[in-house]
Amino acid sequence: MNMKKIIKPRQQVKFLPGHKVVLVEKLFGQEVPHGIIVRENPSTVVHRHTYGGLSFFFQSLTEGKLYGKRCLSGSCMHTGIWLPPRVHCPDCWEEMVWTEIDSSAAKVYSHSMTNLPGAGFLLSTPCPLISLEIPSVGTRFMGYLSKFGDGEPYIGMPVRPVFRTRKPTYTILDISWVPRDE
């Protein structure tokens, strides 16, 4: 029987469209030396980050509420409320309970000014970074002041929280602080 052999053409591996090659000639104000190749390796990465047991905290920010965690174990209660919250108490390793923060007497514990933030910062600059002293909270919660005037912030400055309930980012930026008289 005379079978005709079917010969498939060899497959070709091709470059996919859309890639761009960039060689760097100058960086940090300096020329790349002659004969040295510096190539741009572009990267776009999306991480999917879970808040896990802290999801309630971030959800609550979008609803205008600030929660911390408290350990109900008798030997651990002296620490006060944990804010930022954590699911487990670091001392007895038991799960702690959510408690709403009374921020009516919150004041600035320390402050700095973000003028040159790193890449990915979502806010305009200058942006005052603050740490807060809140009665019954055993920690010094970090945040930012979204409205400030001359001479503000200052240590001891009374502040109140405001929440980004419209178009929340589901990040810690959903809570900011303003002068209490604002």
Binding site: H78, P117, G118, P126, R140, I172
Partner: protein
Amino acid sequence: MIEFGKGNLRTPRLSRRVYLAGVGMTDFRKFYPAQQTSALCLDALKMAVEGMGISPREFRHMVNFAVYSQFADHFGDQLLAEAKIHDYLGLDPIGNFGIKSGGATGGSAANAAIMAVASGYASVVPVVGWERMDEVDTRQGNAYIASAACKDFESHLGWSYTTYYALMMRRYLDENHPNRETLAKIAKKNHHYARFSPFSQLPGDYSIEEILNAKVVSDPLTFPECCAMSVGASVLVFCDEKTAFNLTDRPVEVVGIGSGSHTLRTADRRNMPILLLPNETEEMYKDRKTDWPGFTGFLAARFAARQAYGMAKIKDPVKEFDLIETHDAFTVSDIQTYEDIGLRPYGRGAEFVESGDAYLGGRLPANLSGGLLGSMHAVGATGLFQLAEIYWQLTGQWEKIHGDENLWERFGKTKPADWKNLQVPNARCGMAISHAGTGSHVTAIILERR
């Protein structure tokens, strides 16, 4: 508050004596396109081995473990760079591991190598550290570094460690009222000392006014008060006693090591009684009204120093050390560290500078290397760089190395006409502090000449 049990406060000890037998480094630059990381590491190791007076082959035949020190895979964009470098150095199939603990990576890697030798597992262990911080622009670099803050509650609030340290600085100024100029003097001193090192990236003579009036990175920290972002490598070679005495008649012994930790988030630092050092008493702090460690002290540094002092039987560091290298990432963190490691009581760190103690000729010269402010902060290399500089001081080689015209020329630099010898006369004992985050990890390593 944090409560200590007896086991927590145990003084560490080494099962056998460990020595630092050789050190080497590259110069440090903002941008280093002419060399790949592997080649930089090889250059640093080659310098260390040449200093020990043996050939690369002889050295490779002696090695039985290796430790690698790199802060962030992000920067080099190469996972498991340790394997690539280990191979490049011709050290396969010897076992090795990489150590990571933020800014304290170098100190932690040195500690790991010391433990490997002390345990008897190994007798010759090179520690190779580097960072390649020039693949991304400075804004992205800052964001990478701030990825080592808490990504849920801190990173988004600036993507910059300078901002987090500026927060500590404001509190420090408010609680302790040092002259603002004193902090600037730390920057002035370290940039100045960097002028005499061929390895340094940011040498310069600045006036206090220039430092205070420079561009603000994050109020109140100005540019000259913030550390470099560098590319470069450093190497240490640790070994057992027999090897050390075979290699050199000037061995330098590791007499104390310590490591401490504290919350990654500055916010979470609970108030607690001050953990005292041998040169302190409760009486000294009976009228203290402010938090401890709060935003002005580092529990991790205090804990690490306490361990190292216990092992080395140090009672008064200013008197017993001949020089120190601190992790001066920012002027404020430096002054905080003086207090944590007992150079002055809490609240009085400024006196260490104002008294003249911190300068060459003073009682305890600090960061004659130029430190992180003046010389380098190629993070994984930094803790090793500090110990290498102390090694050269303790072995009386500082002038020979830093004054070497060939080295200046090799690094494309001109040795200053007013170059000064920063050798501490007859230096015998020194300590290096390696520090991460806003004090999440700190190591203390004490070296003494034999």
